[in-house]
Each structure stands twice: as structure tokens, then as C-alpha cells.
Amino acid sequence: MDQYLPILLLGLLGLGFTVFSLVSSAILAPRKKPSAAKLSPYECGIVPNREPPQRFPVRFYLVSMIFIIFDIEIVFLYPWAVVFHQIATFGLIEVIVFAAVVFVSFLYLISNGALTWGPPKTLQSGLPARTSDSTISRISAARPEPGEAA
């Protein structure tokens, strides 16, 4: 039974931290609720008539994909490392084959610009027909050079 004591303590600690955070934020936060004007996004004094789109670039998705793939690869590497001395060369070869195959997917991601950051390069490709609004917004974002692509 006493083996479970640390778990219990950990649980209590977690609970305590949660309660502490909630209570302290309730105590310390400013009392006044922000007005609607204060919450609205600032758009040169114009009242926005629609919600600004809150989207992430799809690159975030690719980065998290890379993370998962290599996360899983490392999960496989851990048992290998534990038994490394027993399987020696054979295991090394097998793991190298495994890692090499997965590494090619990494190469592929790099070549597709999944890790290339900077100004969005292909925004113009998906845009609808050009209007005066879109032209104004486009002037601010410099068009990339053709050779700049990955």
C-alpha cells in the first residue's frame, strides 16, 4: 500500500498547483471587465465588420508531423539502445536501415520547404481575382524572386 503514497502525494501536489493557479489568478487579476471597444482588434480606427481570420500557416502542421515521425523513431531507438550490447552489429545494421529510410522523408520535407520560414511565398497563388482591396494588401508584402524557392 505504501508504494502508492508517492503517487498520492504527486496527485495532491498537482491538485494543489491547480487550485493555487486558479485562486491566485482570481485574486490578482484586474477586477474591471474590459469593454467591447477594448477587446476589438485595431484596424486604423475602422470598426471591423468581420472576425479577422485566425489561422496558422500549414507549415506548423508539417513541423508537428516531423516531430511526431522522429518522436516515433526515437521511441524505437530506446529499446535498441538498451539491448545494444546483446545484438551488436546486427542490431546496428537494422537500426541504420530503419533510420536511413526515415531520414529520406526528412530530406523530402526539407526540399519541400517545410522548414523554410520567412515571408509567405505562395500567397499570390491561391488568391482570387484581383480587386483594389487585394492590390492594396499585396503591395505591403513584397513579391518573392523566382529563384528564391527552395
Binding site: 481570420p53 485566425q54 508537428s64 530506446y78 535498441w80 539491448v83 542490431g91 530503419f98 523566382p146
Partner: protein
């Protein structure tokens, strides 16, 4: 789940084991219900974390510590984060209108089927004493190991041995699965190539913004 309970029943667990099982089962179920009932997709994803955490506790209960760690790191950590990313792409403030039914009568039918399935499982679990082949394999995988060496490092070592002997081919095939996952993600995430600006633009069209 069902299988787990049966195994526990067959080995006559101590009271703390039962308590831990009950607590984590409750966590799992609450999380699972939360996934399907919450309107806000972020809440659904966080409920999923709860379920996965409960499953990890069950793994520890079964002395599969490595699996528990993987469960937390890969599932609760990485995959749910991926879910959250996808939710963010699609707009976090958008809650689905679940009242509209594209096909009438789907919902009652689903409830009826759910009820039948649940009743069937419970009836089977209550009435029949299921014979399992698990007698040979209680404990770590494939029973190559004696009870004394089931320490955490021994368990990982056992897993490693199995991975490089019995499941060697499966291990290597996993590499292909991972490659497919990456290629698939990139193909689906990239924008359609734009023909009008010739090759250079198309090379850029590969680049997903």
C-alpha cells in the same frame, strides 16, 4: 478494457490495484465522453488527453512502464498537439452545428445500436467464463522472462529483444509507414500548383505556405 478486467480478475488483484484501475477507468470514460460531447474542439482534444493519460495509468498498472511513457510522450504529447494544430487551422472559434442531420433518423439508430452492442458485451462478460490463451503469456511478452526480472529496465530490454527478433520485420516495415506518413502529409498540405507562371512558380507551389 474488457480484456484488461478479465486478466485482472484471473490474477486476483490487491485492493490498491482495483482502486487504481477504477480511478483510471473513470478518468478514461469521462475523457471519452468529453471527446464526443464537447462543442468546442479544443475541449474535445483536451478530453482526449485525459483519456490517453488514463490509459497510460492502466499501462503502469500492468507493469508496462515503457508503453506508459510512450503513451504520454507520443500520444498525449505529440499527437494531441497535432490535433490542436489542425483545430487551429480550421478556426478555433468555430463550433460545429451538430443539430443538423444530413440523414434523418441516424441519431436514434446510433443510440439503438450502441445500446445493443453494450448490452451484448455486458451480457457476454457476465454470463460466460471466457477461455483465454493468455495463461502462457501472463507477464511480459511471449513469456521468455521470469517474474524476477520484470524491473523497468528489464521490461525495455525484453521489448528490445522482441523488437529485434520476433518482430524484426514489423520493425523495418514501420519505416515505410513513417515515410508514407510524411509524404502524405506534404502532398495533402501543399497548395495546387499554378500553371500560369510556368515551372519556377510550380517549384514554388510545392512550398506550402
Amino acid at each position: 478494457m474488457l480484456h484488461t478486467t478479465l486478466l485482472l480478475a484471473s490474477t486476483r488483484p490487491a485492493l490498491p490495484d482495483i482502486l487504481v484501475f477504477a480511478a483510471s477507468a473513470a478518468v478514461i470514460l469521462v475523457g471519452a465522453v468529453g471527446v464526443v460531447t464537447s462543442r468546442n474542439p479544443v475541449h474535445a482534444a483536451l478530453s482526449l488527453v485525459m483519456t490517453l493519460f488514463g490509459v497510460a495509468v492502466l499501462f503502469i498498472e500492468q507493469e508496462a512502464d515503457f508503453l506508459a511513457a510512450v503513451q504520454i510522450i507520443v500520444y498525449a504529447g505529440a499527437i494531441v498537439v497535432l490535433f490542436l494544430f489542425v483545430i487551429m487551422f480550421l478556426g478555433v472559434d468555430r463550433s460545429e452545428d451538430v443539430e443538423v442531420e444530413p440523414l434523418g433518423g441516424q441519431r436514434p439508430l446510433a443510440y439503438i445500436l450502441l445500446g445493443i452492442t453494450l448490452a451484448g458485451i455486458l451480457a457476454m462478460a457476465a454470463t460466460s467464463h471466457w477461455v483465454t490463451g493468455a495463461h502462457q503469456v501472463v507477464g511480459p511478452i511471449q513469456g521468455h522472462i521470469t517474474a524476477s526480472s520484470s524491473s523497468p529496465s528489464g521490461e525495455v530490454a525484453q521489448l528490445g529483444k522482441q523488437l529485434f527478433t520476433t518482430y524484426l520485420f514489423a520493425f523495418e516495415a514501420t519505416a515505410a509507414l513513417l515515410v508514407i506518413a510524411v509524404v502524405g502529409a506534404v502532398v495533402l498540405a501543399r497548395r495546387p500548383p499554378v500553371p500560369q507562371d510556368s515551372e519556377s512558380e510550380r517549384a514554388e507551389g510545392k512550398l506550402s505556405s
